[in-house]
């Protein structure tokens, strides 16, 4: 097994941007808004870098499937410390299943011992790609990781599940998806940004990977969510209790 970690990232609308649906319902407004590495993917990358820094991996390769503009986010990932980057260029938005197929092709080429991704992208909130890759690759998965420990040929992963914290042991290679509390990603320093410009960034096209690119889902229309009715303000605790009583809630 190699001592390589492959990290999948996605370029998304920054989490601080207030999302607005286009008036014609064809999507959300993304013109002129800030785009960033999906926060969960940034955590996945940080974890890969820490594994390498403590000597448990030799190389961190970062990849994304998306437009040519994604080079920006890959450069940021290189500045954080990834060794090299692979851009699978696609000229349209792709579904998680197609992303997983593309990642599988890269896995077959790079033979990583571990693939790290965020547990979900904060744009489509699908939470699918890691699990789908694990299925297509026929390898174990550990999703929603808040702790990751590499042992001899195995990983011990603590997962944030609804009931609490679950610990699994998976044989490597495996796919692990990062939850929020796995780590806190580092800030990129200016000299690292300069250094990152010299690191290798290879571009492939999705079509060159010759995989099934069929999209199965049609996004028919986008709408803003229903708004809640404006509420009331009460002036003290007694008024609050009165208001709750009137609603029959206490």
């Amino acid at each position: 097994m190699t001592r390589r970690i492959l990290v999948g990232i996605k370029r998304v609308v920054d989490y601080n941007v207030r999302i607005r649906v286009r008036p014609d319902g064809t999507g959300v407004i993304t013109d002129g808004v800030k785009l960033s590495i999906n926060p969960f993917d940034e955590i996945a990358l940080e974890e890969a870098l820490r594994i390498k820094e403590r000597g448990a991996a030799d190389e961190v390769v970062v990849t994304t499937v998306g437009s040519a503009d994604c080079q920006q986010q890959l450069r940021t990932a290189l500045a954080m410390g990834a060794d090299r980057a692979l851009l699978v260029q696609a000229d349209r938005t792709i579904e998680p299943l197609v992303a997983a197929r593309a990642l599988l092709k890269l896995v077959e080429r790079e033979l990583p011992m571990l693939v790290l991704l965020g547990k979900q992208a904060i744009d489509d909130d699908n939470s699918q790609t890691g699990q789908m890759l694990a299925a297509l690759w026929n390898r174990p998965q550990a999703t929603f990781a808040s702790r990751l420990e590499l042992l001899d040929g195995k990983a011990r992963v603590t997962r944030e599940i609804d009931a609490g914290l679950e610990t699994l042991e998976v044989d490597l290679p495996a796919v692990v998806t990062a939850d929020l509390r796995l780590n806190e990603p580092r800030y990129v320093k200016l000299p690292d940004i300069m250094k990152a410009k010299k690191k290798p960034l290879e571009t492939l096209t999705l079509s060159s990977l010759s995989l099934d690119e069929r999209q199965r889902l049609k996004l028919v229309k986008f709408e803003p969510p229903a708004q809640r009715q404006k509420g009331i303000r009460v002036k003290d605790t007694a008024e609050l209790v009165d208001a709750l009583r009137r609603k029959g809630l206490v």
């Binding site: 699908n126 299925a135 609804d162 998976v170 929020l180 889902l217 709408e223 803003p224 809640r228 605790t237």
Partner: protein, 320 residues
């Protein structure tokens, strides 16, 4: 013609999780649906009989194997695929159980997944939230492949216990991998109602200041039988355990009453509570975004208000 729907039951080895009854209600919204619930367990007897009582279920399928003692996606997915043959739709709940398992199932079935279904428009058309609930997208499935979905449980009521489905056993001849092994689970033992199904939730944010500060919430919650929740900030700060987190990356809940105490109301938090019937916000910052969604807002010091509230709810004298 009927639409055959398979629902993968969520359980803890002894009892059916309420997320299953909610997934059934979603499946019932598909015109002409005929519903089978599959229970993968080491011993499925009790769980299967609970599932058989849920209205709208025509058949419960038990798949009993020692390897199914724990819900491991790598072990369960090939079994779901092995029983999925006759069904056009395969659904699971959008809980950490379903989110972990169902995409693996979808990929093995060579199909896409629709995550977090909040409404059914037709057998092939569904609505789901994106961008932390700041947009709703209508999705149409193209072609005739199976439809795999996870159900946003906060959008559906639980199916009532008025059914009497038949229970069958399926012996699957599937080779199961042993590359994923359960080690342990740590969950706080609590007598409080379950956060995901509670009618009332008292939830706290970073303003509580410490794990100790959170104690006043537990006390208030116990006074009127509420579950306790927390914002991401409070969990990150170590004031509350992760399983209490409410929001985009925590639990999405729909209680009758949600009392947000010292929670500013980041959009990621609001997406977890927007289906609550009544939202009460208590915060010292009058400009906090939580007040934009609150039905009843009270600006003030939570450390004064919460004990007053507890006293008044207990029927004590007004603590003005």
């Amino acid at each position: 013609m009927s639409v055959q729907v398979l629902i993968v039951a969520e359980h803890d080895g002894a009892n059916l999780n309420p997320s299953t009854a909610k997934s059934i209600t979603c499946a019932r919204a598909i015109p002409g649906s005929e519903i089978t619930v599959a229970v993968f367990a080491a011993d499925a007897t009790a769980i299967a009989s609970q599932a058989a009582q849920l209205a709208g279920v025509s058949r419960v399928l038990k798949v009993e194997k020692p390897a199914n003692e724990r819900a491991l996606a790598e072990v369960l997915a090939p079994q779901v695929v092995a029983v999925a043959g006759p069904y056009s739709h395969v659904f699971g709940p959008s809980t950490t159980f379903g989110k972990d398992l169902m995409p693996r199932v979808a990929a093995l079935l060579d199909t896409a997944q629709i995550s977090d279904i909040m409404a059914v428009e037709s057998p092939t058309r569904f609505r789901r939230p994106i961008y932390a609930g700041n947009a709703i997208v209508t999705v149409e499935v193209d072609g005739d492949s199976k439809i795999v979905g996870t159900v946003r449980t906060a959008s559906f009521e639980a199916a009532p216990k008025t059914g009497s489905a038949t229970i069958e056993s399926a012996a699957l001849d599937v080779e199961l991998p042993n590359r994923t092994r359960f080690v342990s689970v740590s969950a706080a033992k609590t007598n409080r109602p379950d956060l995901q199904t509670a009618a009332r939730v008292v939830s706290g944010g970073r303003a509580l200041g410490s794990a100790n500060g959170f104690e006043i919430l537990y006390s208030l919650a116990d006074k009127f039988g509420a579950a306790v929740g927390a914002s991401r900030a409070a969990v990150d700060a170590g004031y509350a355990p992760n399983e209490l987190q409410v929001g985009q990356t925590g639990k999405i809940i729909a209680p009758e009453l949600y009392i947000a105490i010292g929670i500013s109301g980041a959009i990621q938090h609001l997406t977890g509570i927007k289906d609550a019937r009544t939202i009460v916000a208590i915060n010292k910052d009058a400009e906090a975004p939580i007040f934009e969604v609150a039905d009843i807002g009270l600006v003030g010091d939570l450390f004064q208000i919460v004990p007053q509230l507890e006293e008044l709810l207990a029927g004590g004298s007004a603590a003005r």
